[in-house]
């Protein structure tokens, strides 16, 4: 057969079956045969080329590495340790274990939806399919808000550790380390540095410059090693009697009922959700992971086991070393709570503290990049389905990234951080709690969307009963309870870090501003672009098999 005929045949075979789900695409009919190396995208073509297989897939270790680098344990722990201890004291390990449950349950539902309707809009698309345009729109808004909030938090932590690392280097060479470290406290220096970081991350995301897997293996390995070293060093200080406030490990640390108050547990949980956020990517990487069908499951299980083990070990090490006292580096001291490793690295690791700075910095950088992709892709999907201006659906013709959406997400994150830095004394703490609330909101909607979308197939098998009904329903319910409890509790001006506006807790105000502005924008879009809201671009559906 001639090449030309082969092309034509390939073109017929490659006619996209998904075209119907993308009503907005203006289709110009090609004047010539069009071939696509579809194998690498769809994975359905049996003629998968060797090259495609090796370059387009991720092995077990690769999947674990991406999973861990998305969670970024060094970064999340430094942000979450303090605020969680502030709420639940020594029951920190218990809360970390407990916080994992709803995230795991919802992730199961997430995986079901992802394999039924793989779409870059994720929560937005799924919730629209299940519940219609209004709730779907708010689900997308929640996701975008959560990622934008975490972007500003990530950049904020990166700024603090950047100056810490610089001061450590300056101190090493006999310079005035304290003066450099104090620069972080200057809001203008802080905001300027943060904007530079966000600009850098935006450029990297826009141009799709990715670290190769090999480099990432080393970075993640290094991060884990530093965390383990931190835990070992902490316990070594305890054993040697050189700990700051040696606190013996007790079984009660694992008992959430010792916390005392339900509100405190809820507040602790809503912070701890954040440390597991991002883990679900290992569950949805199913299509690309090479090897047997069990690889993704294994990768997810191993990722989670590693992360939970590291969290518990480091959390216990930190508690045993520093205790929960309110002075010095005690974890109960409000002054150190919003960035624990920043203050603990020196006392625990001594001269090796610089490694902690590097670990947190590299982990925030990787997380900044993987996090950036998420709001950009959701914005793109919303633009694509006409829930937002068409511009958001623009794909950069040169880098094939959602260019416009990436830039918009970056600008919003930068503005958010700048405002927060001047409004709040405890930016990092407040943003993490707001983030917890947003996660509850959109993960909750996603979980219920799973149950509702699969409503006709729930009892088709025992597997469905668990993964499509029980897991997402229980997970979603827990998140819903957390969401409303947090919303009510956070009205108290003393909630969390104690930042407040007009006598209302800042976390509550932020949550409300984010959600209500979402409603406003939604009605504005309803007026400007009614097609989506009439279900013309993305209709409600229900799974039949």
């Amino acid at each position: 057969m001639s090449q030309h005929q082969q092309h034509e045949r390939a073109a017929q075979a490659a006619t996209p079956a998904h075209a119907s789900t993308h009503p907005h695409e203006h289709h110009t009919e090609p004047h010539a045969p069009l071939t696509t190396a579809s194998a690498m995208v769809d994975g359905t073509d049996p003629g998968l080329t060797k090259k495609g297989l090796s370059a387009g897939s991720v092995g077990l270790i690769g999947a674990i590495v991406i999973g861990i680098s998305c969670i970024a344990p060094a970064y999340t722990l430094t942000g979450a340790l303090g605020p969680t201890v502030a709420e639940v004291g020594t029951q920190l390990p218990a809360i970390f274990l407990l916080g994992f449950i709803p995230m795991l349950l919802v992730a199961f539902g997430y995986r079901e939806l992802n394999s039924a309707m793989p779409d870059s809009g994720t929560s937005f698309t799924w919730a629209t399919r299940a519940f219609g345009p209004w709730l779907g729109w708010m689900g997308g808004w929640g996701l975008i808000a959560a990622t934008v909030v975490v972007l500003s938090n990530l950049a904020g932590i990166a700024v603090e550790f950047f100056y810490l690392a610089v001061s450590q280097v300056v101190g090493f060479f006999g310079g005035d380390a304290a003066a450099v470290a104090d620069l972080v406290g200057n809001p203008f220096v802080n905001v300027a540095t943060c904007l530079v970081f966000i600009l850098g991350a935006t450029l990297i995301s826009y141009r799709d410059m990715q670290t190769t897997q090999k480099v990432q293996y080393w970075l993640v390995g290094f991060q884990l090693l530093v965390m383990i070293a931190f835990g070992v060093a902490a316990f070594w200080h305890v054993a040697n009697g050189t700990a700051f406030d040696a606190t013996p490990v007790e079984l009660s640390w694992f008992n959430p009922f010792e916390v005392g108050s339900f509100s405190a547990v809820v507040a602790g949980l809503s912070v701890s959700l954040f440390v597991f956020w991002g883990w679900d990517v290992t569950l949805t990487m199913n299509e690309e992971t090479k090897g047997s069908r069990t690889t993704p499951g294994k990768a997810a299980t191993l990722t989670v086991s590693i992360v939970v083990a590291i969290y518990l070990f480091v959390a216990m090490g930190a508690l045993a070393f520093a205790g929960v006292g309110t002075s010095g580096v005690g974890l109960g001291n409000e002054a150190i709570q919003e960035n624990a490793f920043f203050y603990l690295a020196g006392p625990v690791l001594g001269p090796l503290a610089i490694f902690m700075s590097i670990a947190v910095l590299s982990s925030s950088a990787a997380s900044l990049q993987s996090t950036f992709v998420s709001p950009a892709r959701t914005l793109l999907a919303m633009g694509h389905y006409g829930a937002l201006p068409q511009k958001f659906a623009t794909v950069s013709p040169r880098f094939f990234t959602p260019g416009y959406a990436t830039v918009v997400a970056a600008i919003v994150a930068a503005v958010f951080y700048t405002i927060m830095r001047f409004v709040s004394d405890e930016v990092l703490w407040d943003t993490i709690q707001t983030l917890g609330m947003m996660i509850c909101f959109y993960y909750g909607i996603t979980a219920f969307a799973c149950v509702w979308f699969f409503r006709r197939t729930l009892f088709a098998s025992a597997r469905n009963v668990f993964f499509r009904l029980i897991a997402p329903l229980v997970g979603g319910t827990i998140l819903a309870v957390l969401f409303f409890t947090t919303l009510i509790d956070s009205m108290d001006p003393a909630y969390g870090s104690g930042s407040n506006i007009f006598g209302l807790g800042l976390v509550f105000v932020l949550g409300m501003v984010i959600l209500l502005s979402g409603v406003v924008v939604m009605f504005w879009q309803r007026w400007k672009r009614p097609a989506y809201f009439r279900g013309e671009t993305l209709s409600r559906a229900v799974a039949e098999d």
């Binding site: 057969m1 001639s2 090449q3 030309h4 092309h7 996209p16 998904h18 993308h22 695409e25 203006h26 289709h27 110009t28 009919e29 090609p30 004047h31 010539a32 069009l34 071939t35 696509t36 190396a37 690498m40 995208v41 370059a55 387009g56 897939s57 991720v58 590495v65 991406i66 680098s69 998305c70 793989p118 870059s120 994720t122 698309t125 799709d208 990715q210 670290t211 190769t212 897997q213 090999k214 480099v215 990432q216 293996y217 990517v281 990487m285 299509e287 690309e288 990787a366 990049q369 993987s370 992709v373 892709r377 793109l380 999907a381 694509h384 794909v395 013709p397 040169r398 094939f400 959602p402």
Partner: protein
């Protein structure tokens, strides 16, 4: 045309032999100005030589990095968008040029284009030379640069603005840049073939930069190097196959850039240059003279690989 290489899968029946024998040109397309430049030049060469145009878009392999998880939904969106772009480009080309459109996946654009060229047994890869930098300066883009230092297929660089040149302009002349050293055979051979296919006259040029320490007799130096250049050109002309004629001209100036400016250029002209001696055999490597010419040339340039030793 430029390369005597056969398409990998060649069958025996007469009709199909004719089909595979038609020249294939791979155009590295992107939906921006640089891609439009490449497509316009590719179409112009294809129209003039009755070649078959393979318009290729190369998308990145998503799982190549270790940071961002893959998203099949987004990949599908990009694929559909790219299909749309290709269809629009094809509509603009019209039906007169035999063409097919392709989407390929690779780690880099250059790598994907090279693989596509091998897949189709293409004789030429066309890319946009310039990637408008942030400062608006025209420079060799990373794609062109990668190809110019590794390709084993001739590479045509469409200068910025090629998209304004109509296909009907055709190829009015082929200019082969002959260096002063031996080893011009590859350029000569490729130029003859391209000239034949496009029914275009051939011109052999030699660029003679006069760059001597001050104090030397410039007149004399000028004379000797020009004489040498003319000798080389005449030798090259004698090496041309029977029945092929060519004009010769020598350009002098204080630098390569100035010599290029000293020559006259047709709007429909195409320049061929050889690879540097730094190239590994049968590969391409744009040398310093070539780079300097590229900066100054108002017309497209094709770089030919170094011949196999």
């Amino acid at each position: 045309m430029l390369r005597g290489r056969e398409a990998p899968e060649r069958s025996n029946t007469e009709a199909e032999t004719r089909m595979t024998e038609s020249l294939r040109i791979v155009v590295g397309y992107t939906a921006d100005d640089s891609g439009a430049d490449a497509l316009a030049l590719g179409a112009r060469i294809a129209a003039a030589t009755e070649a078959f145009l393979e318009v290729v878009m190369v998308l990145p392999i998503e799982a190549r990095g270790g940071v961002v998880p893959r998203d099949p939904g987004y990949e599908r969106h990009v694929k559909e968008r790219s299909q749309g772009w290709l269809a629009e480009a094809s509509a603009r080309l019209g039906d007169d040029i035999a063409q097919s459109l392709h989407i390929r996946y690779a780690d880099s654009f250059a790598e994907g284009l090279l693989a596509a060229a091998h897949e189709f047994g293409a004789a030429l890869i066309v890319v946009g030379a310039a990637r408008g930098g942030l400062l608006g300066r025209s420079r060799i883009g990373s794609v062109a640069s990668a190809l110019l230092h590794s390709s084993d297929v001739p590479v045509a660089l469409a200068p910025s603005g090629s998209r304004e040149v109509a296909t009907a302009q055709g190829i009015t002349r082929i200019t082969a840049a002959i260096g002063l050293r031996a080893g011009a055979s590859a350029v000569l051979e490729a130029s003859v073939r391209l000239g034949r296919a496009a029914h275009a006259p051939l011109r052999l040029v030699s660029l003679v930069p006069i760059d001597l320490p001050s104090g030397m007799d410039e007149e004399l130096a000028d004379l000797t190097s020009t004489a040498h250049a003319e000798e080389v050109l005449l030798a090259a002309k004698r090496a041309l196959p029977a029945g092929v004629d060519a004009t010769v001209s020598t350009a002098t100036g204080s630098s390569i850039e100035e010599s290029v400016r000293a020559l006259e250029w047709h709007a429909g002209e195409i320049v061929l240059v050889g690879s540097s001696r730094l190239a590994t055999p049968s590969r391409l490597f744009l040398g310093s003279t070539g780079s300097k010419m590229l900066r100054e040339l108002p017309v497209p340039m094709i770089v030919v690989p170094r011949p196999t030793d």
